[in-house]
Amino acid sequence: MTRLFGTNGIRGVVNQDMNSTLALEMGQAWGTYLKKTIPRPKCAIGTDARLSNQMLKSAITAGFLSTGCDVIDVGLVPTPTLQYTVKEKQFDAGIIITASHNPPQFNGIKGTADDGTELTKNVEEAIEQIYFSKLFALSDWNDVGSYSTWDGAIELYIKGVLSRVDVTSIKKQQSHVVLDCGNGAGSLVAPLLLKKLGCVVTELNCEPDGTFPGRHSEPVPENLTLLMKKVSETHASFGVGLDGDADRAIFVDENGSYIWGDKSLSLVGKYITQKTKGGITVTPVTTSTCFEDVVRQNKGSVVYTKVGSPIVAGVMKKNHAVFGGEENGGLIFPKFQFCRDSAMALATLLEILATEKRPLSELIAEIPSYEMLKTKIACPNEKKERIVNQLVEEMKNHQEITDIDRTDGLKLYMKDGWVLMRPSGTEPIFRVYVEAKEKHQAERVALFYKNLVESLMQRA
C-alpha cells in the first residue's frame, strides 16, 4: 500500500502534495477511524508558525467535524504542548499541523493518540486504508461535530513543566540564557518558561514567522552560528536552539561551542539515571555509544530501537523506561509525557546546572567522546534487501565483528566501534553511520564498507 505517513507524520510542499483536499480527506479518514470506537470523539488541534497552517487546519477541521468529531482548536503551540494538552485534558486525539524542521514551503500533519503519544504505525495504516478507500462515515446534518477554541494550552503546559523541576534551585542561580526559537512555535513557550525559571533571557528569532527569516529551522551547527556567537559575546550561561515545532532542543555551552545531540542526551541521561539509580533507557541504533557508557556507569541499561521518535516513545512506555531520546536533540521525559519535549529538556538542563554548580562545558567534557562519521552509499532500491543479506553472510564469520544487530538496517559491532547501514525509505541510498574512538578508524571502516557494497552490487 502507498504510505502517506512518514517517520514523523505526513509531509509535503504546500498546495502541491500537501494541500487542503488531502487535509480534508485525512480529517474524514481519521474521524471515521475514531468513530469506530468512540461515539463522540473530542480532538484537539494546534499548529506551528507556518504560513499555510490555518489553511490546512481549516481543511482537516472540516473533515473531522463532518464525521461527527468535536474539534477544539488550541491555536499556535509547540508540538509537545499539544501532546500534553491531549493527555491532561483527556482528548481522544491530537492533530498538529507542522513540518517540524523542514523548509518553509513544506507543511505536514502529525497525529497523537489519546495519551498524547504519536500514532503507532498500525493506527496510521488503518487511517491510511480508510483514506484510500474514500469510504468515510459522514455524519448526518444533526450529528456534525462542534468547533470551539481553547486558549489555555500554553499555561497548562508551562505549569506542567514547572511542577517537574526544582524551580527554587533553578531560580537561585539566575542563569543567563540565549534563546533561539528559529521563529518557530517555541516562541510561544520558551521565553515565558525561562522567565518563570528566573533566567535572564537574550532572545533571538523569538517572533513566530512562517517565512523563517532568522535561520533555517533545523538546529544544526550551520544554522546556529548567530546563537553561538551571541552566547560567547554576552557571556551567557549557555544557549539553546529549537526546531520549528519545538520538540527538539540543541544546546550551546558557555564558550559558544555547539553541543551535539548525543552529548546532551547523554548528559541528561546521566543525570536522570543517577537520580533513579539505574533503570531502562531507550534510544535508536544511531545514537553514539557515549549514551550507553554513562547509563551503564549508573547501573542502567539501554534498549535500542529503530529510528523514529514514536518508536522510541512506544518502547519506553512498554519498558517503563526512566529516560530516552534521539541524537538530534529530541529528549523524552516519561514522568512528564511520552514524546520529545524541548521545554522539559531546557528546564532539566537548568536543573542539572543548578545541582552541579559547574559550567556546561565541564559537564559535557565528562561525557565519553567518540568519532562519528555519517555518509551514504548509492544502491538501487530493489537491490537493498539482497545486499544487506549478502553483507550479513559475508561478515558473520569476520573476525573483526563482535555482534550483528538487525533492529534497523544492519549494525555491525567491532571491538571499539560500530557501523550502521540503513536503507533510506525515500532515496536509492544506504545511510551509513560509523563510530570509532579515532577519526582515522572511522574513515577506514567507512571506506571498507563502501567498497564492499560496491563489489557486492557488481556481483549481483
Partner: protein, 465 residues
C-alpha cells in the same frame, strides 16, 4: 451516518441569490472547499481584492462547511476574517467594519435544519448579484481555480463579531419607556445576538425559544404565521407592546402587534415609513410584489416610491444608488439604510420600539390606519425549459393589451383598483401569480382572468414543443 462516493456537483444548488442544498446530498465540505476556491479566485482576479469575512449560522453543519470554505479561499491566497458562529447581522456588520471585499455567510436562512448553503454580500452591505454568483458557479463547475504558492497562502484571523455589533445598537437606541417585547428567536441564530442586545438597550424582554437549538426542534425556522402560535400566546399572557419572530439566520423579522395580529412586511414597512424615518423626503424602495397600500400611504407624505424587481440583492443595490431611506421586500426583508444597507432583521423590532417610545399610541392603532387589501397567490406548473418563454410572450402580449404594464421582473399589470403579477420561479418549475385588489370580488375577477391567460400561454408553448 452514510458513506458518500464522489458525485458531480449539481448546478441547481446555485440559485439567484445564494447557494443552497441538503447537507450530505447536494452540498458537503468537499463542495464548499471548491466554492471557497472559486470565491477566492473571483475576489483575487475579478475584484482585485484581498480578503473575505466569513461566518456561519447556528446550524450543526455550518462550522464544518465554513471551515472547508475557508480552506478553499486561503488556498488561493485571499485572507479570511472568521467570525465563527453568529447571527447574520453580526457577521455582516463585522465584515463591513473590516472593509471586506466580500462577506460570506453560511446559512440556509429559513429552510429546515437539514439544509445549508452560503450567501455573499459586498463589504458595503450590497447583496452579491446573480450574474456574479453564476461566475462563481462556473468556476466551481469547470474546476477552474488558481492555487497560490506556499508563501502567499491566505491567513485566517479570528474576529469577535459580538462586541462591536452590540455597541453599535446600544449607541443607536435608547428608550424612555419600559417597553415589553416578546422575542421569538426560534432557537436559531438570533439567539446569539437579539436577547443580549434587547436587554442592553433597555427593553423588557419576554423570551420565546431564545435558547440555542441548532436543529430547530421547537419551531420551524420559517417565521410564517402558523409557526408563531407560541409567540402570540406568550404576548397575550404578558401584555406586550409588540412581539417579533426571526428566521433561521436573522435576515427576516416578523412583527406581531399588541393585539396579537401578525403583520405583513408591507404593514411593518408602512408603519416605519410613516413614523420611523428621520427625513420626510427621499426614496422608499418596494419590489413588484409589495402591496399597493405602501405607495398609497407613503407617497402623500412626500416620499418617492420606487418599484424594483424581487430579490434582496436588487433591494440593497438600489438603496445604495438612490440613497433610499427604507426598502421593503414583501417576503419579509426590510432594510433601513440609516443603520445598514444589508437586511439585518434586528433593526426592524428596534425601530418599531423607537416609534412606540415616541408615540403615545399602541402599535395596533398605527397598523390600522392603513387599509389592508385582499391578496391571492397562485402557482401554476410549468416546465423549466419553457417557463421563461411563457413569461416573455406574456410580456409582449399584455404590453399591447394594457396601459400600465411593468416588465422589470415578470409582468405586472396595474389597474386603478388592483394589480396582477406573473413571474417564473427561479428555482422550481412553477409560474407564480400574485394579485391584490380593493375588494374580494375584483380580486377574484382579476386573478381568474390572468390565470386563464397564463394557462393558455403555457398550453401554447407546450404544443409548440
Amino acid at each position: 451516518m452514510c458513506s458518500v462516493m464522489k458525485q458531480p456537483i449539481s448546478k441547481l444548488i446555485f440559485r439567484a441569490y445564494d447557494i443552497r442544498g441538503l447537507y450530505n446530498k447536494d452540498i458537503s465540505p468537499e463542495i464548499f472547499y471548491k466554492i471557497g476556491l472559486a470565491a477566492g479566485t473571483y475576489v483575487k482576479h475579478t475584484m482585485q481584492g484581498k480578503q473575505i469575512s466569513v461566518g456561519g449560522d447556528i446550524r450543526q453543519s455550518s462550522q464544518s462547511l465554513a471551515h472547508a470554505f475557508i480552506a478553499g479561499v486561503t488556498a488561493t491566497g485571499v485572507h479570511i476574517h472568521h467570525t465563527g458562529t453568529t447571527s447574520f447581522g453580526q457577521t455582516l456588520f463585522t465584515g463591513g467594519k473590516l472593509k471586506a471585499d466580500l462577506i460570506a455567510f453560511v446559512t440556509a436562512s429559513h429552510l429546515p435544519p437539514e439544509w445549508n448553503g452560503i450567501k455573499f454580500y459586498y463589504g458595503d452591505g450590497v447583496g452579491f448579484p446573480e450574474e456574479n454568483l453564476m461566475a462563481i458557479r462556473d468556476l466551481v463547475l469547470r474546476d477552474s481555480f488558481e492555487l497560490t504558492s506556499w508563501d502567499h497562502i491566505g491567513q485566517v484571523t479570528p474576529v469577535d463579531a459580538k462586541k462591536g455589533y452590540k455597541e453599535f445598537f446600544t449607541s443607536q437606541f435608547k428608550f424612555k419607556k419600559k417597553l415589553t417585547v416578546a422575542l421569538d428567536c426560534g432557537g436559531a441564530s438570533m439567539t446569539l445576538s437579539a436577547p443580549e442586545i434587547f436587554t442592553s438597550v433597555g427593553l423588557h424582554m419576554i423570551p420565546v425559544y431564545c435558547d440555542p437549538d441548532p436543529s430547530f426542534s421547537k419551531r420551524p425556522s420559517d417565521p410564517k404565521p402558523k409557526n408563531l402560535t407560541t409567540l402570540v400566546s406568550a404576548m397575550k399572557d404578558n401584555a406586550c407592546d409588540f412581539g417579533v419572530a426571526f428566521d433561521g439566520d436573522g435576515d427576516r423579522a416578523v412583527i406581531v402587534d399588541n393585539t396579537g395580529q401578525i403583520l405583513s412586511a408591507d404593514q411593518t414597512g408602512i408603519v416605519i415609513g410613516r413614523y420611523g424615518l428621520k427625513k420626510n423626503k427621499g426614496t422608499i424602495i418596494v419590489n413588484v410584489e409589495c402591496s399597493k397600500s405602501v405607495k398609497e400611504q407613503l407617497e402623500p407624505l412626500g416620499y418617492q416610491i420606487k418599484q424594483i424587481q424581487v430579490g434582496h440583492t436588487f433591494l440593497t443595490l438600489e438603496a445604495k444608488q438612490t440613497k433610499a431611506l427604507l426598502g421593503i421586500e414583501s417576503s419579509g426583508h426590510l432594510i433601513i439604510p440609516e443603520y445598514f444597507l444589508f437586511d439585518d432583521a434586528l433593526v426592524v423590532p428596534l425601530k418599531i420600539a423607537q416609534i412606540l417610545d415616541n408615540i403615545k399610541r399602541p402599535l395596533h392603532d398605527l397598523v390600522m390606519e392603513s387599509p389592508s387589501y385582499p391578496t391571492r397567490k397562485e402557482e401554476l406548473e410549468c416546465a423549466d425549459d419553457i417557463k421563461f418563454d411563457v413569461i416573455e410572450r406574456l410580456k409582449q402580449d399584455l404590453s399591447k393589451e394594457f396601459e400600465q404594464v411593468n416588465t422589470m421582473d415578470g409582468v405586472r399589470i396595474d389597474f386603478k383598483e388592483g394589480w396582477v403579477l406573473i413571474r417564473a420561479s427561479n428555482t422550481s418549475p412553477i409560474i407564480r401569480l400574485t394579485a391584490e385588489a380593493d375588494t374580494t370580488a375584483i380580486l377574484q375577477d382579476l386573478s381568474t382572468r390572468f390565470m386563464k391567460k397564463t394557462q393558455e400561454m403555457i398550453q401554447q408553448k407546450k404544443t409548440a414543443l
